[in-house]
Amino acid sequence: MTKKKLKQIFFPLFNSFLFIFFISCGFGFDSPMSTFDAQGPVAQLQKDLFLFVFWLAVVVFILVEGAILYASYRYRQKDEKLPAQIHGNTKLELMWTILPSIIIVIIAVPTVMGIWKTQVMPDEENSIIVDSIGHQWWFEFRYPKEEIVTANELHIPENKDVIVNIESQDVIHSFWIPKIAGKVDMIPNHQNKLWIRADNPGIYYGQCAEFCGIAHALMKFRVVVHTKEDFEKWKNDMRTPPAALNPGSDEDEGRKLFVGNCSMCHTNDSYKKAAYHKEIQNQNNRWEEWKKDKEYSAIVSAPNLTHFGDRLTIGAGLKDNNLETLSSWIENPDNIKIGTRMKNHAAIYNSDDQFLTSNEIDQIAKYLLSLKPDKVNVITYTNK
């Protein structure tokens, strides 16, 4: 092989590697979903373990790829002579069986320790308990101790153990907040558990990470990590009814429309006493109804909309919550998320006489945005 041909092959290859390497360095790990920006002990341990194995892998990579490149270059054919016809070397075989075994043991020890650290639950007495139930295509959150029900937004205090009981109502989903912890799957008939703990207040992104059907790509949620005091305030807020509406206002008209068209699936008054168990019962009933006729049922289990006005996003973590996006959603959910059960089943999209006018849509949206606890505590966190 001539030097010229060598140049034609090796250098483009080498350069492309460099190119890819440098470009990739420029990409960075600054996504709101980055696993490298660990904001809690679980994510931190998982990241540290990964980096430990990664750097060992880099060493192996350099040695192996280096040997390949070196051998291919150094021993390229120069003449017709046969090289030494070596069949093997038992010492080498032993060496490169034993050495990797040692590396494996070195990796396995912190790994197994990490498994037990992250997959054993803390004491329930001192933890926040949240039941998270996966639905096609939204996340339900129930707080059994505090008796709060909400959807698509998980509120927890900083620096406190949270045990998330994870299940699904329909198909397999997965519960994942990359900056806080690795994922656990949401499976019908199974109750899985995930321990999370967030170090710093802020807003974090979560997403479903198990293929669950047509809108899998658009099943997300937000996690709001409060300071300890703000979390107490949030809990109280969830018990506080919204401000009374002026009769005849858009919001009040919207409320009537909501009751007539939306409330059979969406509950929005879970701040009331005893509402917690009632809502669980409602959701079960709605699910049973839907199961009876999966194609044409007019009832589906739907996100709880209590204090919807305070939510950061709509559609399960998809768009900012404001009049424009909300109106677009109500007008036609397909604008934001194709495949929703709301579009397929709600009477306002499927029966001949229950369509909403754009004025009505506007009123409903304004009504929903008005649903905030009467004593409003303005909490501003930065997107993390």
Partner: protein, 215 residues
């Protein structure tokens, strides 16, 4: 292996191992079939006692009757051994007799299964009704399909025996069918032991063995 088997052209005893190629194929296939039945049996065992509603095994399975059909199938394995023995000895009358008997016993076994299935259907036990129905019916039907294919194969061999095309010279063709038949029999013994003898007598209230986490 009988020493008075003449080696026929195409018998291929001079291959790398000295084992008949056809026989090797059958053994390998049976190894594969073990994984097939094994997975169905594992499914049954995983779902044992997990049905949320009846009919339950103790209501429907009839051990005495199934013991009879199991016995018949077991005896048919003996029958095929005898059929092969007589074929190798070129005692064609006895060979044909025993082979016919095996076929009849196989048909009796299938007959028992057909009776059992229709009886279950009358009791409301169907593949759709619960986990027990689903696992029981698929496992036993697929086994029954294997037996039925075996019966067809044996009928085919009996016809060949009758015409003189199956004789002591190519007895290996019956031997291979015998291997398959014994396999099907052994699978049935496992099924009978696990599905009938053990599960029907579980005596455990259904649903009382919880899933991880409970439901």
């Amino acid at each position: 292996m009988s020493t008075n088997v003449t080696i026929q052209h195409g018998e291929e005893i001079n291959n790398s191992t000295g084992v008949s190629t056809k026989k090797l194929l059958m053994w390998t296939f049976l190894g594969s079939d073990v994984m097939f039945f094994g997975t169905f049996i594992a499914t049954f065992m995983a779902y044992r006692n997990k049905s949320l509603n009846g009919p339950y095994p103790e209501d429907t399975l009839n051990i005495p009757i199934t013991s009879v059909s199991t016995f018949v199938l077991l005896m048919s394995s003996l029958g095929i051994v005898l059929a092969l023995h007589y074929l190798k000895e070129a005692k064609m009358g006895l060979a044909k007799f025993w082979l016919l008997l095996v076929i009849i016993m196989g048909i009796i076994f299938i007959g028992f299964q057909v009776y059992e299935f229709s009886h279950f259907a009358n009791m409301g036990m169907t593949p759709q009704v619960n986990l027990f129905g689903s696992t029981f019916f698929t496992l036993t039907s697929l086994h029954g399909a294997h037996v039925s294919l075996g019966i067809l194969w044996l009928i085919f061999l009996l016809i060949n025996e009758h015409r003189g095309n199956l004789n002591s010279g190519n007895a290996i063709d019956l031997e291979i069918a015998g291997l398959y038949w014994h396999f099907v029999d052994i699978v049935w013994i496992v099924i009978f032991a696990l599905l009938y003898l053990i599960t029907a007598n579980d005596g455990v209230p259904p649903g009382s063995i919880p899933w991880i986490g409970g439901h």
